[in-house]
C-alpha cells in the first residue's frame, strides 16, 4: 500500500492530462461564409483549427457541411450599419468550448482593430466634423456573440447552448458522484454494524446471506430515490413559481423562437442580438434543454450506478470487522469515481471526443460521465449501449459481492487479503 498509494496518486494526475491531449489532436476544418468580407484572410489557423473561406449561399453551405466532413460552418451575416459582432456556427456535433472561444477571440480582435481604425480616421477629419464625430461614443472592446446550431441528419437544426449544457452536465455529474458515495457508504456501515453487533448470527438462520445483502442495498437505494424525488419535485415547484411570477417580464416563448429564425435569415440579427436581455437568454437556454431526458437519465444512472457500487461497498463491509479496517479496500472503489470527476473538466470541453465516449460506456465511470454528456445531446445508440453495459456491470458486481458477503459475514479476526477475497468468490455454496 505504501508503494501503491503514491503510484495511484501520480497516475490520477498524469493519465487525465495525457487523455486530454489525445482528444484534441484531430484536425478541424471550418468553412467560413463571410458576407461582410471583413474577415477575409484575417482568421488565423491554429494547430487544430483550419479556416477556409467559401462563397456560396447559406443553404448550399449547410448542405455541404453535412457531407464534406468539416468540423463546422462559420456564418457571418451581412450587417447594414454596425460592424458585425455576432456570428453563427453550424455543426453536426456540439462545437467545443475551446473552438468557440478561439473564434470569438479572432473575430473580436479584428473588429477591435477596425474600430481603432475608425477612431483614428475620425482624428483626420477637420475640426468641425471631428467634434461631432468624437461625440459619438464607440467602445473599442468588443464581445462577439456566437450562436451555435446543431445540424441533424434530416432537415432540422437546433440551437444549442454550450455553456448551459456545461453547467447542467457538471452539476448532475457531481450529484451522482455524491449520491453514490453517500448511500454506498451507508450500505457498508450497515453491514459492518450487523457484523459487530452479531445480529447477523441471529438473522442468518432465517434468511440467506444474499437476501440480506440485497435487502439492505435495495432499502437504502429506495431512501436515496425518495430523497432525489423530493428534491426534483421541490426544485421544479420553485422554478415553476419563479416562471409564473416573472411571466409578464418575459417575452412569449414561441414568439421568441420565431423571431430568432426570421432574424437569422435577415440581417437584423447582427445589430440586434446584443440587445437581448440576459434573462431572456437564460430562459431560452434553459428551455432548449431537454429536461425530460435529463431527469430520466439521472434516475436511471443514479440507480444503476448506485447498485453497482453499493454491492462493492457491501462486499467490503462484510470482509472487515470495523470501519477502520475498510481503508485499504476503499481505495480501488473510490478511484474510478474520483477519476471520473477529474476527467469531467476535460469532458465538458470535448463532450463528443473519443475519451468522452469510452468513459461514458465503461460501467465504472459511466454514471458520472454519461450524465455530463447528456445535456450536450448524446446519440440514442450510445446511450442505450451505456445503459446495457451498466446493467450488466451491476449484475456482475452484485454476484461477486454476494459470494464475498456470505463468507465474510461469518469471518472474524484476520483481515482478509485480496487473495482471500478471491478464494471466497470461488467457494461453493
Amino acid at each position: 500500500m505504501t508503494i501503491l498509494g503514491p503510484l495511484l496518486m501520480a497516475a490520477m494526475m498524469i493519465v487525465p492530462a495525457i487523455l486530454a491531449t489525445m482528444s484534441d489532436t484531430s484536425d478541424r476544418k471550418i468553412a467560413v461564409l463571410d458576407e461582410t468580407g471583413i474577415f477575409y484572410n484575417k482568421l488565423q489557423n491554429d494547430e487544430h483549427l483550419q479556416f477556409y473561406h467559401i462563397h456560396s449561399d447559406l443553404n448550399t453551405a449547410k448542405e455541404n457541411l453535412k457531407t464534406n466532413g468539416d468540423y463546422a460552418l462559420l456564418y457571418i451575416p451581412k450587417t447594414e450599419v454596425a460592424l458585425p459582432t455576432s456570428a453563427i456556427i453550424y455543426s453536426e456535433k456540439q462545437p467545443n468550448l475551446d473552438t468557440k472561444s478561439y473564434i470569438r477571440r479572432m473575430m473580436g480582435k479584428e473588429i477591435e482593430e477596425q474600430k481603432l481604425l475608425i477612431q483614428i480616421n475620425k482624428l483626420k477629419l477637420d475640426e468641425a466634423d471631428r467634434e461631432i464625430a468624437m461625440d459619438i461614443p464607440i467602445s473599442i472592446k468588443t464581445s462577439i456573440s456566437l450562436t451555435t446550431y446543431k445540424l441533424s441528419e434530416g432537415e432540422g437544426e437546433q440551437k444549442t447552448y454550450t455553456e448551459i449544457a456545461m453547467v447542467i452536465g457538471i452539476f448532475t455529474g457531481i450529484l451522482i458522484y455524491f449520491f453514490i458515495f453517500f448511500f454506498g457508504a451507508q450500505v457498508m456501515r450497515g453491514v459492518i454494524e450487523e457484523k459487530t453487533s452479531r445480529i447477523i448470527e441471529v438473522i442468518i438462520s432465517s434468511v440467506k446471506p444474499f437476501q440480506l445483502m440485497m435487502g439492505k442495498i435495495v432499502g437504502i437505494g429506495l431512501v436515496g430515490l425518495t430523497q432525489l424525488t423530493l428534491w426534483i419535485v421541490l426544485t421544479a415547484s420553485i422554478v415553476g413559481v419563479f416562471q409564473i411570477a416573472f411571466k409578464d417580464k418575459m417575452p412569449n416563448q414561441s414568439a421568441m423562437v420565431m423571431n430568432n429564425t426570421q432574424m437569422v435569415q435577415g440581417n437584423a440579427l447582427a445589430e440586434v442580438s446584443n440587445d437581448e436581455s440576459d434573462l431572456t437568454a437564460v430562459f431560452e437556454a434553459i428551455s432548449s434543454i431537454n429536461f425530460g431526458i435529463i431527469i430520466f437519465a439521472f434516475i436511471f444512472f443514479f440507480l444503476t450506478g448506485y447498485l453497482l457500487y453499493a454491492a462493492l461497498f457491501a462486499a467490503v463491509g462484510s470482509a472487515v470487522d470495523s470501519e477502520a479496517d475498510t481503508q485499504q479496500f476503499m481505495l480501488p472503489i473510490t478511484i474510478p469515481l474520483i477519476f471520473a470527476m477529474i476527467m469531467a473538466q476535460f469532458i465538458i470541453r470535448d463532450p463528443e471526443g473519443p475519451v468522452a465516449f469510452w468513459l461514458s460506456i465503461i460501467p465504472l465511470t459511466s454514471p458520472i460521465i454519461m450524465m455530463i454528456r447528456i445535456p450536450f445531446g448524446v446519440p440514442y445508440t450510445e446511450l442505450a449501449l451505456s445503459m446495457v453495459l451498466l446493467v450488466a456491470g451491476f449484475l456482475f458486481t452484485t454476484w461477486m459481492a454476494g459470494r464475498i458477503y456470505r463468507t465474510g459475514i461469518l469471518m472474524y479476526g484476520k483481515k482478509p487479503s485480496y487473495k482471500d477475497l478471491y478464494k471466497w468468490i470461488k467457494y461453493k455454496g
Binding site: 452479531r198 448470527e201 441471529v202 438462520s205 432465517s206
Partner: protein
C-alpha cells in the same frame, strides 16, 4: 424415532478440517447435549444443521425428510455469539425477527406480550435495545428463538452470560419446552446443566465424534464399581478387614468418623458389606457414579492420547 439425523458430515476450511465424518442422531422430544472442547467443531456442526453453511460431504435429515430451506421455520436457533440491532426498539425488533420465522404480525405481538410478561421485561417493549442490560437482551433473544414454537430448538452455549437466577429460569423453560413436545439440542461447557437436563449426549473432539448415547447408559459404562463408605468404630485401615480383596483408600473425618473409597474389582457390594458389618458402624454407603465432567475429561484425554500414537 429420531427428529434429526446428521450422517457422515465432513467440512473442510482452507487450512483445517472442522468436521470429519461426524454423525449424530437426535431422538424426538429429547434433550440432546452437544459437548466438546473449544475448537472441536461444535459450532460448525450447528451452523450446518441450520443451513448457514453446507457440508462438503454428508447428509442431514429432519423428521426423515432431507433437510431443506423450508425447515428453517421449524427450527429455532440461539447462536453463541448473539446480538440485536442496537438502535431499534425492542418490541419492533422482536416482531421483525418473529416474522422472519414465519409468524404473522398479530400472532407475533400476542405471543411476545405473553412471554415478555412471563420473563418480567414487559416494561422494556418500547425501549431501544442499547438501553437494556445484557441479561435482558439475552432474555429477549431467547424469547425470539422459541416464539414460533419450533419442533427443534438449537441452543449454542445458552447459559453463557446469564446470572444464576436466569440460568435457573432458562433450565426450567427448557424442560417445559421439552414436555410440550419440542426436541432440544444444546451445546455447552456447563457440565452441571448437562447433568440436570440432558438425556442424550454426543461428544466431539478434534473434529470427530468420540462418544454418543443415552446419558444413563454412558454413566453405567463408565462406572468403575466404586463405592464410598462413611463409618466409625474402627481405628485403622479397613484394608486389614477386607484382606486386600478390594482397592481401598481412606481418609479420616472429624469425631472419629472415617470415609473410605472402595473399588470392588470383581466382588459385589453385598459381599463387601458382609465383610465389614461385624467390625464397623456404617453411616452411609453409596455407589460412585461418574459425573459428566469426569467422563468428558477422561474420554477426551483418551482420544487425544490415541491420536498421538
Amino acid at each position: 424415532m429420531s427428529l434429526f439425523n446428521a450422517n457422515n458430515i465432513t467440512k473442510q476450511f482452507s487450512n483445517h478440517t472442522a468436521l470429519k465424518s461426524v454423525s449424530i442422531e437426535v431422538p424426538k422430544q429429547s434433550i440432546f447435549g452437544l459437548l466438546g472442547p473449544n475448537g472441536a467443531g461444535k459450532t460448525t456442526l450447528i451452523r450446518i444443521m441450520n443451513q448457514i453453511t453446507a457440508p462438503d460431504e454428508g447428509e442431514l435429515f429432519f423428521n426423515s425428510e432431507k433437510l431443506q430451506p423450508k425447515h428453517i421455520y421449524k427450527i429455532g436457533y440461539l447462536p453463541e455469539e448473539r446480538g440485536l440491532y442496537k438502535k431499534m426498539k425492542v418490541g419492533e425488533q422482536a416482531i421483525y425477527l418473529a416474522q422472519l420465522k414465519g409468524l404473522s404480525r398479530n400472532d407475533a405481538v400476542k405471543k411476545l406480550k405473553y412471554w415478555f410478561e412471563k420473563f418480567d421485561i414487559g416494561t422494556w417493549w418500547n425501549r431501544k435495545v442499547e438501553e437494556l442490560s445484557k441479561g435482558m437482551q439475552q432474555k429477549v433473544q431467547f424469547i425470539v428463538t422459541i416464539l414460533h414454537e419450533p419442533e427443534l430448538l438449537i441452543f449454542d452455549e445458552p447459559f453463557s452470560g446469564f446470572d444464576p437466577i436466569n440460568v435457573n429460569l432458562l433450565k426450567t423453560e427448557i424442560l417445559k419446552l421439552r414436555d410440550d413436545g419440542a426436541t432440544i439440542i444444546f451445546s455447552t461447557h456447563n457440565m452441571e446443566s448437562v447433568e440436570e437436563l440432558c438425556d442424550h449426549i454426543a461428544l466431539i473432539n478434534q473434529s470427530e465424534k468420540i462418544l454418543e448415547g443415552k446419558v444413563s447408559e454412558i454413566k453405567t459404562q463408565y462406572k468403575s464399581n466404586t463405592f464410598t463408605l462413611e463409618y466409625s468404630g474402627y481405628n485403622g485401615s479397613i484394608k486389614s478387614i477386607t484382606d486386600n480383596q478390594f482397592e481401598v483408600s481412606q481418609t479420616s473425618l472429624e469425631d472419629g468418623r472415617y470415609q473410605a473409597t472402595i473399588k470392588l474389582n470383581n466382588g459385589d457390594a453385598n459381599q463387601l458389606l458382609g465383610i465389614l458389618i461385624p467390625h464397623i458402624k456404617i453411616h452411609s454407603f453409596n455407589e460412585v457414579i461418574p459425573s459428566m465432567n469426569d467422563i468428558f475429561i477422561s474420554r477426551v484425554a483418551e482420544s487425544n492420547a490415541s491420536k498421538l500414537n
